[in-house]
């Protein structure tokens, strides 16, 4: 089933793209993340130009986040106020990210920068999660009661001014770290073509101490808007969103996500975190491999930069 992509200007196997979307959708449903960090590298491995993979990845993240956030909205595990503040920061970070993206593209260093960001972020977050989940598993096997949140612990973050109350999250915290977190993730989202869920979820849990049950819904809800903004700006400035490719990914992804969510209910929290950590580390290693091992072809062709 060959399908011609009008923006990428190439012919791909539609079935492969659908399966790719479904597999990522399954995993994103399983772990409650948008799946952007998997889709963009997969598209690049499938020879889609990185610039198009990034922008199209952001587009497909909207669909999977939308479908995930709806489930949380029904269960009321979503903090609109927190998501709103994160979003303000996110739009700001995303705007800067898009300018940097266009600049790197003209410089010919976009591929390198995308790979580096992936290796650094996926590697460090995956590594941390791996250590944490292995420790938790070992402790729970020993019979000790495990609590994620240590009561009464005060972080330097809680000493910052401009405090705001987030009722749904049972949180009273300064808006500065929330805005900064939103901005940082927005920046990465624009360059990496991800929603940023895999950074947002641990950051909300470990840095801001948001209750775990609220985190995923809030993160997904916030990502819909950051990814939507990123998609629109990429479409307007770089013309790199391929709607046909994105639609195929979305259809596969939305279907896969429902089965993933069902499978996720059968696994325990720390088991899920361990699996997600392994997946994240595997993607990071794969990208690091490409970066550090001599490529099969040292030369690459590109169009003349517009800037």
């Amino acid at each position: 089933m060959n399908i011609y992509l009008p923006i990428a200007e190439m012919s791909v196997n539609g079935l492969v793209v659908l399966i790719m979307g479904a597999a990522v959708g399954f995993l994103s449903g399983l772990f409650g993340v948008g799946g952007g960090f998997l889709i963009t590298p997969l598209l690049i491995f499938y020879n889609i130009p990185p610039a198009i993979a990034v922008a199209t990845g952001a587009n497909q993240v909207i669909a999977s986040s939308m479908s995930g956030a709806m489930a949380h909205f029904r269960r009321r595990t979503l903090d609109f106020k927190l998501a709103g503040v994160l979003l303000v920061g996110g739009i700001f970070g995303s705007s800067i990210g898009i300018v940097v993206f266009a600049w790197l593209r003209a410089l010919g260093q976009l591929d390198l920068f995308i790979s580096l960001l992936y290796v650094v972020f996926l590697g460090s977050i995956g590594g941390l999660m791996l250590v944490e989940s292995v420790n938790t598993l070992r402790k729970s096997r020993g019979g000790a009661v495990v609590s994620m949140k240590k009561a009464g612990q005060h972080h330097w973050i809680h000493k910052l001014p401009l405090k705001m109350r987030f009722r749904a999250s049972k949180l009273f915290v300064s808006v500065i770290p929330v805005l900064a977190l939103g901005a940082g993730i927005g920046f990465l989202a624009a360059i990496m073509g991800v929603g940023g869920g895999f950074i947002m979820v641990p950051a909300l849990i470990y840095l801001l101490k948001v209750p775990t049950n609220v985190v995923i819904g809030t993160s997904l809800f916030q990502i819909i808007f950051t990814a939507a903004f990123t998609t629109i700006v990429h479409a307007a400035t770089n013309q790199t969103v391929d709607v046909v490719l994105a639609f195929l990914l979305m259809v596969g992804g939305v279907a896969g996500a429902q089965y993933g969510a069902k499978a996720g209910q059968k696994l325990r929290g720390e088991q899920l975190r361990l699996l997600l950590a392994l997946l994240v580390v595997a993607v990071a290693l794969r990208l690091a491999f490409d970066l550090f091992v001599q490529p099969g072809d040292l030369y690459s062709l590109g169009p003349l930069g517009e800037f």
């Binding site: 011609y4 669909a63 819909i224 998609t231 479409a235 307007a236 709607v243 072809d297 030369y299 003349l304």
Partner: protein, 264 residues
């Protein structure tokens, strides 16, 4: 067979009128070459995955003796639109493979398919091909920065050619040109799945005894079909609206997916 030839000749008569006349006519070679394409427009639809193009051609005033001995050779080329290209080389920096050096070429055909009667090296001297800028290996690619050392330019030209060949944009089909009679030939050209959009030029070169005699050309337009073209145009002309549409599509897909799948 006679009917087929008759229809080909008719086709040639139609296209022959539109084909370009040869530039120079050396006195001692009365032969002329004319070509006609099986179509002058290729539309790329959603299920496009590469295609073949047939070019018919005729020679006039052929020396029958030479034709019998197979002294005539034809090369047919389909040249895609030319664009500037940047070739980048990766080098090891801090253990990582990073794009460092680059060379820009001013006018490089995006695609270049060649079809010949025999292998190029058996037909004529490399100097002939170079003079004609004919064949992927002999084509002249003009660097933007002429001050670079010849070795550097040579290296990047070779890399450019190699990349184009691995991506299937530059191809060579030996034996793709077949003589149907001493005066008639048919050439098959392979069009890659990633063939560029735009106006392509089909060129036919006639060789006799290893010497170049005549050249002719015809145009071929490769366009996206209605839907693909509309999407492409929308993305470039109404890019903001296009982006908003892409977002809306994603939201509706996500929402519908939830409703359809969460029923059970």
């Amino acid at each position: 067979m006679r009917l087929l030839l008759g229809s080909i000749l008719l086709l040639l008569a139609t296209f022959g009128a539109g084909a370009q006349q040869p530039a120079s006519v050396p006195d001692n070679n009365p032969e002329t070459i004319q070509i006609g394409l099986s179509t002058d427009r290729i539309t790329i639809t959603t299920d496009y995955s590469g295609t073949t193009l047939t070019v018919f051609g005729a020679l006039t005033d052929v020396d029958q003796q030479m034709a019998r001995q197979g002294r005539y050779d034809v090369i047919v080329v389909l040249e895609g639109p030319a664009r500037p290209v940047v070739v980048r080389r990766k080098d090891r920096v801090l253990g990582m493979w990073i794009n460092t050096q680059s060379e820009t070429f001013v006018n490089v055909p995006i695609s270049y398919s060649v079809s010949t009667t025999r292998p190029l090296q058996d037909m004529a001297q490399p100097s002939t091909y170079r003079r004609l800028s004919l064949g992927a290996d002999y084509m002249y690619m003009q660097p933007l920065d002429r001050d670079d050392t010849p070795a550097t330019i040579e290296e990047f030209t070779a890399a450019l050619r190699e990349r184009k060949e691995t991506t299937g944009l530059y191809s060579e089909l030996i034996g793709g040109v077949q003589f149907l009679s001493p005066n008639l030939f048919r050439a098959t050209l392979e069009l890659a799945p990633n063939v560029p959009i735009g106006t392509h030029r089909a060129r036919a070169f006639l060789f006799k005894n290893g010497l170049f005699i005549k050249e002719t050309s015809a145009q071929l337009s490769i366009r996206k079909s209605g839907l693909e073209q509309s999407i492409f145009q929308a993305a470039h002309e109404y890019s903001l609206l296009y982006g908003i549409f892409a977002v809306a599509l994603a939201i509706v897909t996500g929402w519908l997916g939830r409703i359809i799948f969460s029923r059970d």
